[in-house]
Point group: C2
Chain length 418, copies 2
């Protein structure tokens, strides 16, 4: 981390100073690149941090931009219209803790973001970097949360957007993206087809920033802000355990990166922490690799209601395994039935309604406690990364009114057993 | 305002010192009452504020509880589990301003609340007061946002809840309340039937707090926090113009009350401000009364897609007329087509997706500018009180993908006219 390269760059991306290959370590100047020219490995942002002080962060904006000194964005990032995501609630979850058998539990509730998922964080960083890198159009392939976040961020900034979705997407998800009035294109094909098309278009259009393709190194850094916020909201210290859902795996690795940076910069004491990963059994390639003791992840064909986590060939899978093993964490997976029960448990105990990905996190935490992998006495944080309003279909056959009655007090009393 | 009564009270509700009749001025000690025993007028909370300083507020919680010294809640209110609503974004809306022809415009975006509407504010205050007043069950009749907020707040606090809804309610709205696992009771009848049933049950059950019925005086005070936040977020000053949607009308009157209190307490300079009201034409009894120059509001039968505003006999209608006339504001109403265009305009220009009530506010602001009632050179705030994810049905026949194409770059180019 924080390696400086000597070559001057022409792009002002704050403390970001180079792109570094995560496989071979080769460094290049900051550029709109995402793959290493030497080995085709994924590129990652390398920094040269100046002095970053708690007081400066605390005096900053009430959004992820309070951490701009730790992100690949210019110092005036917040002077451009943006969705100002982040600084979502860290909720003390005593009732959920009691239900799970944990002593001290927090929920990082990212449903409070502008489009109600953590994707607002990564898209905001991608947009800020894309502006500096000379892009003019914000784009993505997506099946849901990312489409919402990209279209909204572009609208707010006054940018054109191109969002590619499978034409089979549910109407509700189409509406929540179409409303921002960018170029929403439905593609007759599955998500793999849409993804390939995005890569092709990114190569053809120099000024189109596909947030999760050609500006992915910058985009992914946005997830570090979850770690920064957790530490600041705990009073500038690290939690002992954190449970993170795994889709591509980028979020989990960036939460780890964020915690490490805070320690290295003396913003927190570098106390030990354990990182746990959560997957749905119907798409659990990283969990399977972890349990088998493998270093590589075998792709799978997803089949789960947790569609926002349904990435069968997770790009960051090997790096997730590294983080989890290095920090003495674990990875577990849960059935779709357990996902629904996880959603309901969080709602019932804490009044927080999460999408299926959050159900995966809660249900996995439960399983990790039951199998003795999560220490019940260690302070734990669960990442709840998206909103239940986006995945109503997952619960619609499981819940409903307790009773339907005629309009009389007697009927209500009878229904309630009074 | 801020009248003290001499009688000691047994309830610790912070600066709240009495209930005062809004019609005859008769005062009673703090109690679980909502109607004046003398004249049946509505009761309102009266305060005796101590010294309230900006610095103390700024050092307080990142929620409405930073204003606990101005609300009918005990000083330790935040030590009890609650949803911690409020401190939502005040968004500088330059692109919407340009579209509307306003020089300086802000959007108060209450979609960021825990259950994504301003109802989290009023329910949180109702729950805090209800706890002090000895209630044990949180309840409400509702058709949407209030049901969500009540069920979530009760779950978080570990309280029982009883939520009454018309059995004809859309499935999505049933799910988003049922997930919190309180006693959700579907009633065969319309909203008026449900409301009457709530009043009957409130009379029978001494320990059931129907937030919008028998603890309404406390509940309604929660809307003052919108005014406090706007002023604080503007750097401790009042805006010159504010546009507020009207359902019962309580929110509009409480925004005015909040602004006045801030001036009287020297927390802001008491500069003049104008309050504007927004209704959907399909339920516009207050707008009609305003335009006709009447002091009373004739009830109507609602017929509008803006269902969260569809109160045909608004309890605070006359008080709304008072506020609007006193502050030299105005009231206007807009058609359902304009509501949809208002939703789309806000999404397109600012990346904020609001429910129909927000569409009413935006469309009304547009009409008020066009008719010369809103001063285009005066700083203006629009209240966006709920989330578009809750009223997808309102836009589903109006928007969709720009094109559906085969998975090829050429097809995308053709669809985009490139």
């Amino acid at each position: 981390m924080t390696t400086t390269v000597g070559a001057p760059t022409t792009f002002d991306l704050g403390p970001a100073k180079a792109l570094s290959c995560r496989e071979c370590g080769h460094q290049i100047p900051l550029a709109p690149e995402f793959a290493c020219a030497e080995c085709f490995g994924p590129l990652e942002v390398a920094y040269s941090f100046g002095q970053v002080r708690r007081a400066d962060i605390e005096a900053g904006p009430r959004s992820i931009w309070r951490y701009r000194g730790l992100l690949p964005v210019p110092s005036d990032v917040d002077s451009h219209p943006n969705t100002q995501p982040g600084l979502t609630r860290l909720v003390r979850a005593d009732r959920l803790a009691a239900a799970l058998g944990l002593r001290s539990l927090w929920v990082k509730d990212d449903t409070g973001n502008p489009t109600h998922s953590f994707k607002d964080r990564v898209v905001a960083v991608a947009l800020a970097a894309a502006r500096q890198l000379g892009f003019k159009v914000l784009a993505c392939p997506s099946t849901g949360n990312l489409a919402n976040a990209t279209a909204a961020a572009a609208a707010r900034a006054g940018w054109e957007s191109v969002v590619l979705i499978p034409s089979s997407l549910e109407k509700a998800k189409i509406l929540t993206t179409a409303v921002y009035d960018g170029a929403l294109i439905a593609v007759d094909g599955n998500y793999d087809d849409v993804n390939r098309l995005a890569t092709e278009l990114a190569a053809e259009h120099e000024d189109w920033a596909f947030v999760n393709v050609n500006v992915r190194p910058y985009y992914a850094e946005g997830s570090k802000t979850l770690a920064y916020e957790i530490a600041e909201q705990l009073g500038w210290r690290l939690p002992e355990q954190v449970v993170v859902p795994i889709a591509s795996g980028a979020q989990l690795t960036k939460v780890d990166k964020g915690f490490r940076e805070l320690g290295e910069l003396d913003l927190v004491e570098a106390t030990p922490y354990r990182v746990f990963g959560a997957q749905a059994t119907g798409c659990s390639p990283v969990s399977a690799a972890y349990k088998a003791g493998h270093d590589v992840v075998q792709p799978v064909r997803p089949d789960t209601i947790a569609r926002s986590l349904a990435i069968g060939a997770p790009a960051d899978g090997p790096y997730v395994l590294d983080v989890v093993r290095r920090t003495n964490g674990a990875i577990e997976d849960v059935t779709d039935e357990e996902v629904v029960e996880g959603i309901r448990l969080l709602a019932r105990t804490e009044g927080i309604f999460t999408e299926t990905a959050g159900g995966v996190t809660v249900a996995t935490a439960k399983k990790l406690v039951e199998t003795g992998k999560l220490d019940p006495d260690a302070e734990t944080v669960l990442l709840i990364t998206g909103d239940g309003l986006k995945t109503l279909d997952a619960i619609e056959n499981h819940i409903g009114p307790r009773a339907t009655v005629p309009p009389s007090a007697a009927a209500v009393h009878e229904a309630l057993g009074l």
